[in-house]
């Protein structure tokens, strides 16, 4: 086995600047996306994910320019998500230099959109972002539901059934965020991650809750994720990507170190 587990820093981008929401409320500025992407690339990030959290549609074009600028100097895979509604949105970002497009809310409201997108551009560039929240009571077997609107609105859709469906519809990868853990820094919901990872054929990226390097390792070892995503622990210089990889390697996890 020689495929490396991936470490993916995530940059939340609002009107062209990197920010990180703590449970989508307390947002702090962490800099210029091109600068941050360049630094992560130098540190050995395996991919970079941009999440466009811009509210106004006027500023949407800003993201296209961010991607263009980053793609000119950073030669690792770039994923862009946030506000993807139409085939034209996907085409615009791919043409700007994105490699994968992450679809979230639009998939929930119109699952066929995932099918159309995968048919049109290939599964390799379609990531389905899944926001899941635990709905089972303590002591019960884990059960999670898909939520929208930053974790505020339940949909009644069972998370495991949903990821299986998205896999069947042509998602090339699942970006799984635990809405219970996002912003808490107490670690991934590894029970959720494991359940999702076992339910689908495609790779699963664990997201939501990373507060230290052991959390990243746990996402792989306990959560059985194929990749781990984090934002704030990297943005504020607490840990470098290199330190994260060294920590994971020390626990027998294969990482890319060249």
């Amino acid at each position: 086995m020689s495929l490396a587990k991936r470490i993916i820093p995530c940059l939340d981008v609002d009107a062209g600047r990197v920010v990180k929401g703590v449970q989508f409320v307390d947002i702090r500025d962490a800099g210029d996306p091109v600068e941050v992407a360049r630094r992560y690339n130098q540190e050995g990030a395996d991919e970079i994910t941009f999440l466009d959290i811009t509210a106004s549609s006027d500023d949407r074009d800003t993201m296209v320019h961010v991607v263009e600028d980053v793609a000119r100097e950073v030669f690792i895979p770039l994923t862009v998500g946030g506000g993807i509604r139409e085939i034209a949105d996907i085409r615009r970002l791919l043409n700007a230099g994105a490699d994968k497009i992450s679809i979230n809310t639009a998939a929930v409201f119109n699952p066929e959109f995932v099918k159309q997108a995968a048919d049109k551009f290939g599964s390799q560039c379609i990531v389905v972002a899944v926001d899941a929240k635990r709905v089972s009571a303590d002591g019960e077997p884990g059960r999670w539901e898909i939520f929208t609107h930053g974790g505020r609105k339940p949909t009644g859709i069972d998370a495991i059934e949903w990821v299986r469906r998205m896999d069947a519809y042509g998602a090339g990868e699942i970006l799984l965020t635990s809405m219970d853990r996002d912003g808490t820094r107490i670690g991934f919901d590894n029970e959720l991650t494991r359940a999702v990872s076992r339910a689908v054929r495609v790779p699963v990226i664990a997201s939501g809750g990373v507060g230290n390097l052991q959390h990243l390792a746990d996402g792989i070892l306990d959560g059985e994720a194929d990749a781990v995503l984090a934002a704030s622990i990297f943005h504020f210089g607490e840990y470098s990507i290199g330190e994260a990889k060294a920590h994971m390697r020390a626990q027998g996890i294969e990482v890319r170190d060249d």
């Binding site: 495929l3 395996d46 000119r72 030669f75 390799q124 560039c125 090339g172 054929r201 790779p203």
Partner: protein, 215 residues
Amino acid sequence: MQTIAVVDYGMGNLRSVVNALELVTAGEARVILTSAPAEVLGADRVVFPGQGAAGDCMAAIDACGLREAVLEAAREKPFLGICMGMQVLIDYSEENGGTSCLGLFAGEVRYFGDSHRDLAGVRLKVPHMGWNRVTQTRPHPLWQSIADGSRFYFVHSFYLQIEDDDLAVGKTDYGFEFPCAIARDNLFALQCHPEKSATAGLQLLRNFVAWDGQA
């Protein structure tokens, strides 16, 4: 100034390929993204990328009238196939219920399967996505200054089986070993994405743009 044609037949994001070639040539070459057969034939070297499904790719190549130009370029000038641009050089792909391809190499492109496992029985995700090691199985000018076993970025669900194993220049292991780079004369093709493979990938592209096409 040399011209490098990146063949654009509407399959996938070619911006990164162009960006990477522009970076490694640093203004010393003209990099064109083209779907015009005459421009492909007029270029000094040709990059043939591709993403998506084999059936769609073959249909798009024919819809653009590019089949003959691609075949001729692949016979005559330094030619680099990437990802689907490698797979469609083979006789046949089992994707889309069976797709007849360009037939430059004897072999088949096959699906990893819905329950792909390694030898120890551990389930492997499909697509094979991420950074895997490329073992250089024989020397080649395009491997220059790239350490044997360097990691490249892969994303694919189908893999190559070639009849003549000597054509492999690189192999990778995902449950089993398969050829991830093949070469013959002026042609080099690989499954992984050099334009997304950081230092090693850029070095491979640098080697390609300096290559005289001799194996």
